[in-house]
Each structure stands twice: as structure tokens, then as C-alpha cells.
């Protein structure tokens, strides 16, 4: 079992959140909240199970990720801030 970024997961793969890396990218420019902050607020915290349920074509961007009971759409770039452990990798 190893640690990879969520952005490297393909459709159908499951993992467990290990950490959210600091990503200073802001979400809207009227306010200063960052991607990492919002990811944590939405529940991307260590120990949570997630699954990639859909990816767009071509390029797999954006992707849809189920975290617990909630589905989120995000791009690979944002997903790059989430470190996950994947079984069988």
C-alpha cells in the first residue's frame, strides 16, 4: 500500500485520504479561501474513504469523486492536493 495523489486515480479506483497538501490557489478572487481549506471543510480529512466514480473524456478531466456519502466534481489539478492510500498499489 502506497501513498499517491487523488489525481492519479482512474475511474473505479478506491482509496483512503491521508492528507491534504497545502495548495495556496484561491477559489474565488472576491475572497481568499484556498483549495486546501475548502477540501478540508468539505470533508477530505485523513481516514475518509473515497472512490472515483466518473471521469470525462478525453483526458479524464474533470473527475467525479464520491467521498463518504457525497459526490464532488473536481479537476485533476485540485485532486493533486489530496494524498490517498490505495490498496493493491
Amino acid at each position: 500500500m502506497s501513498s499517491v495523489t487523488l489525481s492519479s486515480l482512474r475511474k473505479g479506483e478506491r482509496g483512503t485520504v491521508q492528507a491534504v497538501r497545502d495548495d495556496p490557489q484561491t477559489l474565488g478572487d472576491e475572497t481568499r479561501s484556498t483549495v486546501s481549506r475548502r477540501l478540508l471543510e468539505l470533508g477530505f480529512i485523513p481516514g475518509e474513504a473515497l472512490e472515483v466514480v466518473a471521469e470525462s473524456w478525453p483526458g479524464g478531466d474533470p473527475m467525479a469523486v464520491r467521498l463518504g456519502n457525497t459526490l464532488f466534481a473536481l479537476r485533476r489539478r485540485e485532486a493533486g492536493s489530496v494524498l490517498v492510500s490505495v490498496e493493491g498499489r
Binding site: 478572487d29 475548502r38 466518473a54
Partner: protein, 622 residues
């Protein structure tokens, strides 16, 4: 006034998609006031209701949905500032009702804890608690209440009486004493994670258990978000919606139209002839009526938009379109405002408020008028009927194909403009996408109808104020000065509008417009479709509305060249002349800069497109 009778200020808070607006509708019914917060364009919704037992009145403020008190959008900033009492002219609430989706507590409870820490007296409404039970969610409500230390009630916003428990608890609680201003600092990342751990501890203490997601719903997502099937379904859905907008609206539109015509005739006959008669009949009724005719189309389009929104599909459409929109520098979120713009750019531009990034938002506003709004249809219909033969091309009708091409031209132009804007004036750094895709659910009719009613009210207000005022001004310009005695030709030719038309002819001659067309463009400034009626007046026809189109067709077919007709079609793809749109852009951007840029670039594009079309068509057809 005794303290108990003074209305108590309540605020309704919750994460997006928690059913907050449905609960607001349930509590306040149609006793709602919609306005804007001072200085910003965020919609402020307030309603009132009376408690069942003591006659206590409540004023309920429906704050914009927020995931957090650390905002990422203007909406979230307003919610935070209102709760903290930082909003000018807005007293902070005495009590907060936090709506939490009982089927998604993991996401909802963190906001509850943040609100609890603010110190404002709090009630938690576990919304959709019936759905949660049906789907097999387990929760000990009493234990949750104990753990949170604030009252927790169950609500079912979509059912009669689903708000009863909330009302009972509200009525038993004493009125909270007024408090000093609240201090608040954004939590650190470590504090957020701590809160999240606390959420999970509380949920497990309260025996919260989530069932596995239903297979049917999983399958549905597998199809709806499939990389190939998903976009195909979206395209089919949009096609169906447009089909419905045009075919279902035909009957109510002709009813509205004949009603207005009859009213005009009745008034014309009842009043003595003269200026007042003409002002009321030709100015007020004909003018406002020409816009009212589109009410059925706009209502049908909004019905579908609200239906798709309520069912949970729209965010998925935004997901599907993110890449395509991203290729021209827009966000997938721009899809909803642009879809609305096909009915009318005004509600479309108002819907851009949900786009978190200012530059994305501006770019979306700037291209919204390029989506072919329903006001352009009468113009298209007139010219196509006059110049395009109704013959079959393969499986399609040639007239239909031309209409489709005009719509497509608008979309392609919009994409090109967006691409250009995002590379120049609105150049922006990368903007992340982080969008919740809520669970599918059956749309609720009551909410749908209340939503439609709200749209209807906004539209009628607009017709009743700005459009009406413009129509009166244009009537004046077209009626004065009166023609000299013994003058020939239609009276409008001698009016201010006529003079303007003559002057404009110099500008428009290179793109093939005669003075009649140039003149019709002047009243068309108020609303594009008015150009049809104006052409009727110029060609001295006395009928109004649909009759004009019927008698105008042979008239213009005879007097215009095909090149002129095509040029006018090209002009109308861009058609900058819609004052209501420009006024709304001014209001939404709080400056005259953007409406002026918009009018300028649309005029330039329209002129260029018409010029090229006219020259090429003239050369080819000569």
C-alpha cells in the same frame, strides 16, 4: 408594543442543496420579499410568519447557501457578514435556524458546529428526515441534541405540516437577550480537522449510520456522467426543452397576443382620438404587449430550468460541460446562466451570481446576449418566411435549418468572444473547480410553482417599469413632430425617429439596409422584437402584432434584395440593441463600463458580420 409582539429576527442558514429554500417556502408561503443586499447584487429573501400558539411574529431571512464561514463566493461572504452583524443596514439575527440535510450529515454538521461557536442561539433543523428514514439512515435525534447542546428538530420541507416541530420548539424557547457583536477568526487547517473529527465523534455517538447508496442511483450516475452517453443525453434534453419552448408556447402566445390586440382596439374605440389615445394604444399597450407576448416562452423555459435544478441534474450538466467551457476559458458553472439566456439575457445575467470568480462572471455576462433570446425569434421568423423557401433538404425543412444555423452562429460567436476576452481584457489565472453533485431527487411541485411565480413577478416588474418607460419615450420620438399638412408617406417618416432613421441610413447603407430598416432599428433599441412592429408602421400598415408579420412578408419579399435580408439576419445574431440587457449589466457590475463595452463590441460585430454577409451575398447573387 409588548416585547412578545415585536417580530423576532430569524436567519435560515445551511449548506447548498440542503433544502433550505424549500423550508423557507414552507414557513413563509408567498409572504416573501425579494430584494438585493445594499451595495451588492446578492439576492436578499425575507419572509414572515406568525407562531401558532402565542401570536409571536417572526421575520425570517433566507441567507445564501454556505459551506463555511470562511467564504469562497460573494454569497458565502454575505452569509458570514450578516451573521456577524457586519452588514450595513442589516441587524444580526436573534436566532439562527441551521438547516442540515439528514441524508448528508457528514457534510452538514461542520457548519452547525461553526455556527454554534459563534454563540448566536441556534436551532438545528434536520431536513428531509422522512427521506433519510426511507433510505435507511439511522440516527438518535435525542442523543444528537445532547451532544450538540442545542435543540434539534426534524423537518420535512416538502410536506404539509413538515415544519410543525420547528415551530413548536421556536415558540417554547424564550426570546434570547441581545448580545454584543461576535468575534470571529478563520480557523486554522488544524482547527478545521479538529472540528471534522468532532463531527465524526458526535455522529458515531448518536448512532448515525448511512446505508450504501442505492444501486439504481449509482447506475443513473454511471449513465448520466458517462463520457459519451452523458453529453448525448444532455444534448437530447436541451433539444427537447427548446422544442417544448417553441411548440408548447404557441397557443398561450397567440392568446396573450390577441388579448392585447383586443384591449388595444377597445381602448382605441373608447377614447377620443388624439395624442392620449395614441400614447396609450400605440405606446403603452402595443409596446409593453410586444414584450408580454414572450411570457409563455420564458415561463416554459424556466419551468424546465427549475425542474432540472430541483432534480439535481444541473450541477452534473456543469460537470459534463466543464471541459468544453474550459477550452474557451469559462467555467462549467457558466452553463446555467447561458441556458437561461436563450429565453432572455436578463435572467441569464442575473444567474451569473453563482460564479465565484469575478472574471469568469464578467466573461459570462459579456457573452450572454449572444445566446439567441426569444425576442429575436419574431425578427428571424419574419425574414425567413419572406426569403427562405419552405422546401425539404433531406429530412429537414430548409427554413428550420436556417433558424438552427442562426442559433448555432450565436453560440459559436459567443465561444469565440469568450476565448478572446479570456486572453485579453479578462485574462485570468487558473480557477479551480470544486462542485458538489447533490443526490437526485424528485422535484417538488410547490417549490417549482413558487420559483416560477418569483420569475414571473420579476419579469412583470421589468415590463411595468423600465420597458414601459422606454416605450413611452420611443412613442414620443416616433410621433413628434407631426407631419406637415399634405405630407406624403407614413407619419413616422417626419418624426424624430424618422430623422434618426434617415441619419442612420448613411451608417447602414454599406451593409445594405434601406432607411426603413434603419428606422426600425431605433424603436428596436427598447426590445428587439419591436423592430417587427416598427417595420409594419414604416411600411404604413395599420394592423398590429402577428397580422403585421403576415402582411409584411410579401411586402419585404418584394422590396428587399436577398442580400439585404441575409445581412439583416446576420445583424440580428449580434444585435446590440436591447436596453434592458444593458441596464441589468449596469446593475450587476455596478458600473457603466461593462454595458458600454458590451454595446460597443456587439455593435462592431453586428456591423462586421452584416457587412461581410451583404458584400459576399451581393457578389455571389449578382
Amino acid at each position: 408594543m409588548p416585547a412578545a409582539l415585536e417580530p423576532m429576527r430569524l436567519a435560515l442558514v445551511g449548506v447548498p442543496n440542503c433544502g433550505k429554500t424549500a423550508l423557507f417556502n414552507r414557513l413563509t408561503g408567498s409572504r416573501q420579499k425579494v430584494a438585493n443586499y445594499a451595495g451588492v447584487t446578492v439576492e436578499r429573501k425575507e419572509g414572515s410568519f406568525v407562531g401558532p400558539s402565542r401570536g409571536q411574529r417572526y421575520r425570517l431571512l433566507d441567507l445564501p447557501g454556505a459551506y463555511s464561514l470562511t467564504p469562497t463566493t460573494l454569497d458565502e461572504a454575505i452569509t458570514r457578514d450578516c451573521l456577524l452583524g457586519r452588514l450595513a443596514g442589516e441587524a444580526p439575527p436573534e436566532r439562527v435556524v441551521c438547516v442540515a440535510d439528514a441524508t448528508n450529515l457528514r457534510l452538514n454538521l461542520r457548519l452547525v458546529l461553526e455556527l454554534r461557536d459563534l454563540g448566536t442561539p441556534l436551532i438545528v433543523a434536520l431536513n428531509m428526515s422522512d427521506l433519510a428514514r426511507d433510505r435507511g439512515f439511522q440516527l438518535d435525534r435525542g442523543r444528537l441534541e445532547q451532544e450538540l447542546g442545542v435543540p434539534v428538530v426534524e423537518t420535512v420541507a416538502i410536506r404539509d405540516g413538515g415544519e410543525r416541530e420547528l415551530l413548536e420548539v421556536l415558540e417554547t424557547l424564550p426570546r434570547p437577550p441581545s448580545r454584543p457583536a461576535v468575534e470571529w477568526a478563520d480557523p486554522t487547517f488544524e482547527q478545521i480537522q479538529q472540528t471534522q473529527r468532532e463531527v465524526r465523534r458526535i455522529l458515531s455517538a448518536a448512532g448515525y449510520a448511512e446505508p450504501a447508496r442505492r444501486r439504481a442511483l449509482r447506475r443513473m450516475d454511471a449513465i448520466v456522467m458517462h463520457p459519451v452517453a452523458g453529453p448525448a443525453i444532455l444534448a437530447a434534453l436541451l433539444f427537447f426543452v427548446f422544442q417544448a419552448v417553441f411548440s408548447w408556447a404557441a397557443v398561450p402566445m397567440s392568446l396573450v397576443d390577441s388579448g392585447i390586440t383586443r384591449l388595444g382596439v377597445a381602448l382605441h374605440d373608447a377614447l377620443p382620438p388624439g395624442a392620449l389615445n395614441s400614447l396609450l394604444v400605440d405606446g403603452v399597450i402595443a409596446g409593453a404587449g410586444s414584450v408580454l407576448v414572450f411570457l409563455p416562452q420564458i415561463m416554459i423555459l424556466f419551468f424546465f430550468i427549475l425542474l432540472l435544478e430541483d432534480s439535481g441534474y444541473l450541477p452534473r450538466a456543469a460537470y459534463l460541460l466543464d471541459r468544453m467551457m474550459g477550452s474557451v476559458g469559462l467555467s462549467g458553472r457558466a452553463f446555467i446562466p447561458l441556458l437561461s439566456s436563450f429565453a432572455c439575457a436578463v435572467p441569464g445575467i442575473m444567474a451569473t451570481r453563482t460564479i465565484p470568480n469575478v472574471r469568469d462572471r464578467l466573461a459570462t455576462i459579456m457573452i450572454a446576449p449572444l445566446m439567441t433570446c426569444s425576442a429575436r425569434l419574431p425578427v428571424y421568423a419574419l425574414i425567413i418566411a419572406a426569403f427562405v423557401p419552405s422546401q425539404r433538404v433531406g429530412a429537414f425543412n430548409l427554413q428550420g435549418l436556417v433558424l438552427f444555423a442562426l442559433y448555432a452562429a450565436g453560440i459559436v460567436a459567443a465561444m469565440l468572444v469568450a476565448w478572446g476576452l479570456k486572453r485579453t481584457a479578462l485574462r485570468a489565472t487558473y480557477h479551480p473547480l470544486l462542485l458538489e453533485l447533490p443526490e437526485y431527487k424528485w422535484p417538488n411541485m410547490r417549490n417549482l410553482l413558487l420559483g416560477l411565480w418569483e420569475r414571473l413577478r420579476i419579469f412583470l416588474q421589468r415590463v411595468g417599469t423600465i420597458i414601459l418607460a422606454l416605450m413611452i419615450v420611443l412613442w414620443f420620438l416616433s410621433s413628434y413632430p407631426a407631419p406637415p399638412l399634405g405630407a406624403e408617406g407614413p407619419a413616422i417618416q417626419h418624426s424624430f425617429a424618422g430623422m434618426i432613421g434617415r441619419a442612420l441610413e448613411h451608417v447602414f447603407a454599406p451593409i445594405g439596409f434601406n432607411w426603413q430598416i434603419s428606422l426600425a432599428l431605433v424603436p428596436g433599441l427598447a426590445a428587439r422584437e419591436v423592430a417587427v412592429g416598427a417595420l409594419g408602421t414604416v411600411y404604413s400598415l395599420s394592423s398590429t402584432g402577428d397580422d403585421v408579420a403576415a402582411t409584411l412578408v410579401p411586402m419585404i419579399a418584394k422590396s428587399w434584395s436577398l442580400a439585404t435580408a441575409l445581412s439583416l439576419l446576420a445583424w440580428y445574431v449580434f444585435a446590440p440593441q436591447c436596453l434592458s440587457t444593458l441596464v441589468v449589466v449596469k446593475r450587476e457590475t455596478n458600473s457603466w463600463r461593462y454595458p458600454l463595452i458590451m454595446a460597443g463590441y456587439l455593435f462592431a460585430l453586428a456591423y462586421l458580420a452584416a457587412f461581410v454577409t451583404f458584400r459576399v451575398a451581393s457578389a455571389l447573387l449578382a
